[in-house]
């Protein structure tokens, strides 16, 4: 069973945008905000990908 994670959403051009774990140039172009959001999305994705047995990859 995999652990469910909420997607990371940021505002891009005034609209909410779900940050893909693989990143997008649009997100990177946001600079500090984009990099933080992307790192968070990746982290969540990596956690989600690991079975929820309490030994998730940190």
């Amino acid at each position: 069973m995999k652990k469910k994670q909420e997607p990371v959403v940021i505002m891009m051009n005034g609209k909410p945008f779900e940050v893909p774990p693989g990143g997008s140039l649009g997100v990177l172009a946001l600079g500090n905000v984009g990099v933080r959001a992307w790192k968070k999305a990746k982290e969540k994705f990596e956690k989600k990908d690991v079975p929820g047995d309490g030994k998730e990859k940190k």
Partner: protein, 814 residues
């Protein structure tokens, strides 16, 4: 946080070029840049020679040329017998962040090249090694990616900025796809080019993240950020940029043709974010240090010499400025990388150093801007920030990584770890010698040929000849009129076959011109053009020589051929303009001169010729404007003052007449007017006209003895008079003795021959064909000499007409 007013955001994009940006803006792919250009000013930013980025960005940050700021080349001596990547240690003068610190302004400076180690300025500084993932020669994994000492000031920002770094290994296929849409078809492990692209994206993202973080969390008056990615992407992939270059692999072209476009588009996206972070009170400036050839001027091969990749750099970078008090939607001309710091200082109402080589770009402002000056920022005794101290161990590790990056980019050769000590010493010597060469180039670029020659003669080693050093020795020797030295090195290069014969023929022609040997010059240039019919430099020289010889159609053919090959070549437009001007085709001449200054604004002779053409078209006020521009660029040209005196007299501006007369007086002592030309009817009419107008013209064109003996002291004695006729074979001897300006009467040999024969019949003496031939040869030599003296004030007469007569009298009078 208190909201600061009148802030400045300075963005540096290494190697950004208008040719690509204009196409992308037209296609809607750079909307942020387009909005900026439409609501601000744009222009070309002239680079310096050599076009090497650390030298240029330091010139940009200081307003002085490299031989003054001290950052030379890509590497520097480490003071312990080794070399290190260029650093802040060698900068000898203050940068704009020091000047702003002294005056209490706060700056964010991010990734400026070179800025490691950082300085304790008023604000924050992140060095150009911040994004570096290498430690020594090893790549650090993201889990243990350290931040080297000396890369962040203040240290307290370290944790905050560290978390914003993006490691090249984090770059996914998603992110590479916009650059290489068919990336999946490539094996990332085998094809290193995808790894390189990932690295460039990671570095650009890291720098941008640090910049946005500091803009958002710190108080600032100036934020200055530098990106090297466009330069790096261009060096790696411009060869695949459309249109496909001849002899390229079609498959590779298809794979990588979007990389450069991707790089520009990504920068525009980052720009969009920055623009959304600022308010209307903030001035935004975007600059690049040089351009990058993206069309038929792309070199087919990169020379295998240090800094060889710089051959791909184009001579103009970009300049854009938008903000309060700045013009909208206009173009500016004449900007140089040296002007960035003076312009920044002016934006902050701070004084510009009189010792700076650059000038504030006052033409960007919509209202006249008062510029303040001080003698030098070096004399201001206020704290401006010190280099932070860094441990030896950390310095070595970061240095090795930085050196490796320069090796990867092809700017320096690699030193192998297993090389013997002797090999390593040779390597180090080579690098130091290379830097001396760049220093010499910098002197040449600043017009200091004596200083350049001294260095070049010292580093030149005939046992290990380097053609680049030898060519610059010959050119500098020609510039300093050391013709025997130029000839000596030219013979050496020829003997050892170090350069193509065509190139050496061109240099030999320049030496011959210096020695007034027009015949040899023409022979050499014709030989050169035969083997290289499309060589731009040879065509320009040949065209100039034909202009001097008044073979105007041939001259024009050369220049038009250059324009066809290189439509941005200002010298070709200027040369073609001169050929039309000499034909009195003023409309065409003006068109070509205007094109010349459009391509290269800082071209005093082109502005001068625009003035001359407009004056001859009776557009007096416009002509005055052009002469004034020429004067600001070259204040040592007496003939410009004379034109300004004449024209202001015509428009009855006595105040200006007096001003320029005073200026001219301080430049000229005891000046003579020499009338010369073939001794025909036209020349006699000119002399008669002057005598009729009360001028006491000495000399007699029909005195045969004058033509035969060029060293006749009696004739030169005649020059004691203010106005004197001298035969053309005498004029070259004059300049050592007197300041002169010339009235040159153009006539045809046949008509002159008829005139002399008619006079001979009257006098019953004999003029033979040999004498006529001799006169024609003398005329040719004199014209070549006059053509090589751009500073001389010459009034050419083709026909005597009423309006020309007035100008002639005015020319002689002043």
């Amino acid at each position: 946080m208190e909201k600061k007013k009148n802030k400045v955001l300075l963005i540096g994009w290494d190697a950004a070029d208008w040719k690509i940006i204009d196409k992308l803006m037209a296609n809607g792919l750079m909307p942020a840049m387009k909005s900026l250009v439409e609501s601000g000013v744009r222009g070309k930013l002239a680079t310096l020679d050599p076009p090497l980025s650390p030298m240029l960005w330091t010139s940009m940050a200081t307003g002085v040329r490299p031989y003054r700021h001290g950052v030379i080349g890509f590497v520097e001596h480490d003071g312990k017998g080794g070399v290190r990547s260029v650093s802040s240690h060698y900068r000898k003068v203050k940068a704009f962040w020091n000047m702003l610190t002294m005056e209490g302004y706060k700056s964010n400076v991010i990734a400026w090249w070179p800025s490691n180690p950082v300085e304790s300025i008023n604000g924050c500084m992140v060095s150009n090694l911040f994004q570096q993932e290498k430690k020594g020669r090893e790549t650090m994994e993201r889990e243990n990616w350290e931040i080297p000492e000396g890369t962040i000031y203040p240290e307290s920002l370290k944790e905050q900025l560290m978390e914003l770094r993006v490691h090249p290994h984090d770059i996914t296929g998603n992110l590479v796809m916009p650059f290489v849409p068919q990336a999946v078809a490539l094996d990332k492990k085998k094809d290193k080019r995808l790894t390189v692209i990932s690295k460039f994206i990671a570095h650009a993202t890291t720098v941008h993240a640090a910049c946005t973080e500091l803009m958002e969390t710190q108080e600032w008056d100036l934020t200055a950020v530098y990106h090297d990615a466009i330069d790096h992407f261009s060096h790696g992939f411009m060869k695949f940029h459309p249109p496909m270059m001849p002899n390229r692999d079609k498959e590779e072209y298809e794979l990588f043709k979007d990389v450069v476009i991707g790089a520009y588009v990504f920068h525009d996206m980052m720009l969009d974010r920055l623009l959304k972070m600022i308010d209307d009170d903030t001035t935004v400036i975007i600059v690049s240090d040089h351009g990058f050839h993206s069309d038929h001027l792309r070199p087919p091969h990169i020379p295998k010499v240090p800094s060889g990749p710089a051959i791909e750099h184009a001579p103009y970078g970009i300049f854009v400025a938008k903000g309060p008090g700045i013009k909208k939607g206009e173009r500016i001309h004449g900007a140089s990388v040296l002007d960035v710091t003076p312009t920044l200082l002016t934006l902050f109402d701070l004084p510009v150093g009189r010792d700076m080589d650059g000038k504030p770009l006052v033409n960007i402002f919509d209202h006249p801007k008062t510029v303040q000056y001080i003698d030098s920022w070096e004399k201001v005794d206020k704290p401006g920030g010190e280099l932070v101290s860094v441990s030896e161990e950390s310095l070595e590790a970061t240095n090795e990584a930085a050196l490796q990056q320069l090796v990867d980019l092809g700017y320096i050769d690699e030193m192998k770890l297993d090389d013997s000590n002797e090999d390593q010493q040779e390597y180090l010597k080579g690098i130091i010698k290379e830097n001396q060469f760049y220093l010499a180039k910098s002197y040449i670029s600043g017009g200091k040929h004596e200083e350049a020659l001294e260095i070049l003669l010292e580093i030149e080693d005939k046992s290990n000849p380097d053609f680049r050093f030898l060519i610059d020795i010959i050119n500098s020797a020609i510039k300093t009129k050391r013709y025997p030295l130029a000839k000596e090195y030219l013979n050496y290069v020829r003997k050892n076959e170090l350069m193509s014969d065509a190139y050496m023929d061109t240099l030999e022609a320049k030496i011959a011109l210096g020695l007034n040997d027009g015949e040899t010059a023409l022979k050499m240039l014709k030989s050169a053009i035969k083997s290289k019919p499309d060589a731009i430099e040879i065509l320009i020289e040949l065209g100039r020589l034909f202009n001097s010889l008044r073979e105007l159609t041939k001259a024009r053919e050369c220049f038009l051929k250059v324009i066809e090959k290189d439509p941005d070549n200002a010298h070709a437009y200027h040369g073609a303009g001169v050929s039309y001007l000499r034909e009195e085709n003023y409309e065409e001449a003006l068109d070509y001169f205007l094109n010349a200054v459009d391509k290269m604004h800082h071209y005093p002779m082109a502005h001068f010729h625009i003035g001359e053409t407009l004056a001859l078209m009776k557009e007096y006020s416009a002509a005055i404007g052009s002469f004034e521009v020429a004067l600001t660029m070259n204040p040592d040209l007496p003939k410009t003052y004379r034109w300004l005196i004449d024209l202001n007299e015509i428009i009855e501006n006595q105040k200006a007449v007096d001003y320029y007369k005073n200026k001219l007086k301080s430049k000229i002592i005891d000046e003579k007017v020499i009338i010369t030309g073939l001794p025909g009817e036209k020349l006699m009419s000119v002399i008669d006209l002057l005598r009729e107008n009360g001028f006491d013209v000495k000399g007699d064109p029909l005195n045969e003895a004058q033509w035969a003996n060029p060293l006749n002291n009696d004739i030169l004695e005649g020059v004691k008079e203010h106005i004197c006729y001298l035969p053309e074979n005498m004029i070259q001897n004059l300049l050592a003795r007197y300041d002169c300006r010339f009235v040159v009467v153009n006539d045809e040999a046949e008509k002159v021959s008829e005139f002399i024969n008619s006079k001979a019949r009257l006098k019953k003496s004999s003029y033979n064909a040999d004498l006529i031939d001799g006169l024609v040869k003398m005329d040719t030599t004199a014209r070549i000499w006059l053509g090589q003296q751009p500073n001389l004030d010459i009034f050419y007469i083709n026909e005597l007409e009423d309006d020309k007569n007035e100008m002639l009298i005015s020319f002689v009078k002043n």
